[in-house]
Symmetry: none
Subunit: 193 residues, 4 copies
């Protein structure tokens, strides 16, 4: 492929990120993006169907990274209590390195589309995890799909809280909170409802 194509897509992604940081996803127009990227209107639409498509395309990278890490982590066996949801630490660390971007993705001024994309991405990871550890295998009183949504909701909430709060907590500490609240719930300890 023409290497100009590569370059055009890159500047568009960079423009989107920088604008999301400045004004929030919903407030961005295609016009803003192409102005920032110094790209013609038709060029934009030649590559993407709209800003939503551009966003999703950008998410694919994060997706690949986390999936790769997860695969590695699941390979070296250990108990769920110790090694479960290992990818979450990577996520918190990545978020720490790109606080601005994550603030745009996951914060108050984000948009439904962005959140949905993030949510879908995390749901995949969590589902893999529960399958790998054979949790919620049909016999439970909690359907696996419910458990998946529960964990995703919890993770998004903690992540959002941590980012929005501008908390001085380290990624490891934030991750610890997430694990402290979620792992026991998943393992069904203290059954008592």
């Amino acid at each position: 492929m023409d290497r100009r194509v590569q370059r055009t897509r890159e500047v568009l992604h960079r423009a989107l990120i920088s604008l999301m940081i400045e004004r929030g996803y919903d407030a961005i127009t295609v016009q803003h993006i192409i102005d920032r990227a110094n790209v013609g209107r038709s060029t934009f639409y030649a590559h993407y169907d709209g800003k939503e498509d551009l966003l999703r395309s950008g998410m694919k990278n994060l997706n690949k990274q986390l999936l790769g890490y997860q695969r590695a982590a699941l390979a070296l066996k250990g108990s769920f209590r110790e090694r479960g949801f290992a990818f979450a630490l990577v996520l918190f660390e990545h978020a720490n390195g790109h606080r601005d971007t994550y603030h745009a993705i996951v914060g108050k001024h984000s948009g439904a589309v962005v959140m949905d994309a993030m949510r879908a991405l995390l749901a995949d990871l969590v589902r893999n995890e529960l399958k790998a550890y054979s949790l919620y295998e049909g016999s439970s009183d909690v359907p696996r799909s419910a458990a998946v949504q529960f964990v995703v909701g919890a993770l998004m909430s903690i992540l959002t809280w941590w980012i929005e709060e501008k908390s001085k907590l380290s990624p490891a500490e934030a991750n610890a909170i997430f694990r402290r609240l979620t792992i026991p719930a998943i393992l069904g300890e203290g059954k008592s409802s």
Copy 2:
């Protein structure tokens, strides 16, 4: 106040709800609303700043109901494990009675604005609860604000899952799943992270 004002606001709310059920919040335009409500454009803007404002105004009702119920529930003391988050059952039952509306509010085709309003509403209730039972009173390794967000995320996730799945589970069963996953986590059982 002129009783026509009352009437106009009502038809606008009804129009919004019925349109949200049919096509989802984001797909609605002010034009749709005023057409459905048989109201002039300027009349709409005389009462509300836009469809977002109209929505929030509508949420106030649900808010009042749940807050009232919560106050009553907290009055008759009991352990958190038994009586905590009692308002959730009311929520699940209300959702069951207005599945269409809740599907519009909380489902895939909702909008960021709607979700945020819902989230804020629930955060209030959860915060009240934790305060009432003196949980996460500073000493904990989990800040109370984080715990609040965790519970809200979990509740929204289970609610959404239940509505979207068109699950045949009863409101009580859905509520049980929510409690089963959240109460132990909050009570910090099985501390082990």
Copy 3:
């Protein structure tokens, strides 16, 4: 009708004329028109289908004027040789009073659409004339429709030539040339082909 409508249409017509004079019909964009007229894009399209529609609407005025004059002229009978195509003098005089506008309508930098509109307008007048004087009534070796087109072509050509040449000839003189070339041809004098 709302008197704002009247006003909007007027400024649009004025904008079109002034732009046609400056740069020629074909070079004009809708954007130019609405900028010049200080009118919103959607307002323009609420009134007209495009610049072509705006143009034709403007032509209706000239049309009415010439048709009115023709009716009057045909009323006071006389021979075709003396009074035929009396409207042409009015046209030349009108053109003289609005040379800039006519230059835009009929000159080199005009457009096919403008010319066609003008042509259709004149064809009506010429057809009326031939009918009124019972010329080319079927028996002729020249179909009436051909004669009509011939006269229209001749009139447009002389008019264009007179305008483009910036000739110092008076409207009456230009009209005389038109008559000198066309009347005998129509009356079939010197049959000899």
Copy 4:
């Protein structure tokens, strides 16, 4: 010259003609032409400045043919009344052999550019004719340039009428109509205006 160049120009001309017949000159875009011709965009612009240039280049052929015929016809002297505008018959016959093409060039769905090109081409021929027969040599009350435009307008009108009408008249008959209306006018018979 590279014979590929020759070939490229031919396919471009053919593409233009076929598209003009199908949709009319104005509705054609450069994109349509190069798609039809199976040629790259830059290739097109390497040969022509735009579709207008391509058109004019194509007209040169017709031009050469008519000019050649005219030269021959003027050589064998005779009176203007008998032999004047002899090229017109060739034009009508050529048009008869390529009705589709002429319909595109001269019909309602043509464009200003095409008409202008045609007009300029004919003006040359008519001017030659008037010069050759020493008509309108300054003394007249009708300037020669006016007479030229008059004849061109008349010829175009008759040609257009004949083509558009899909008349069953033969080229010779159409030409007779043209001569019947134009020759006497030019010769100033029946002076009387």
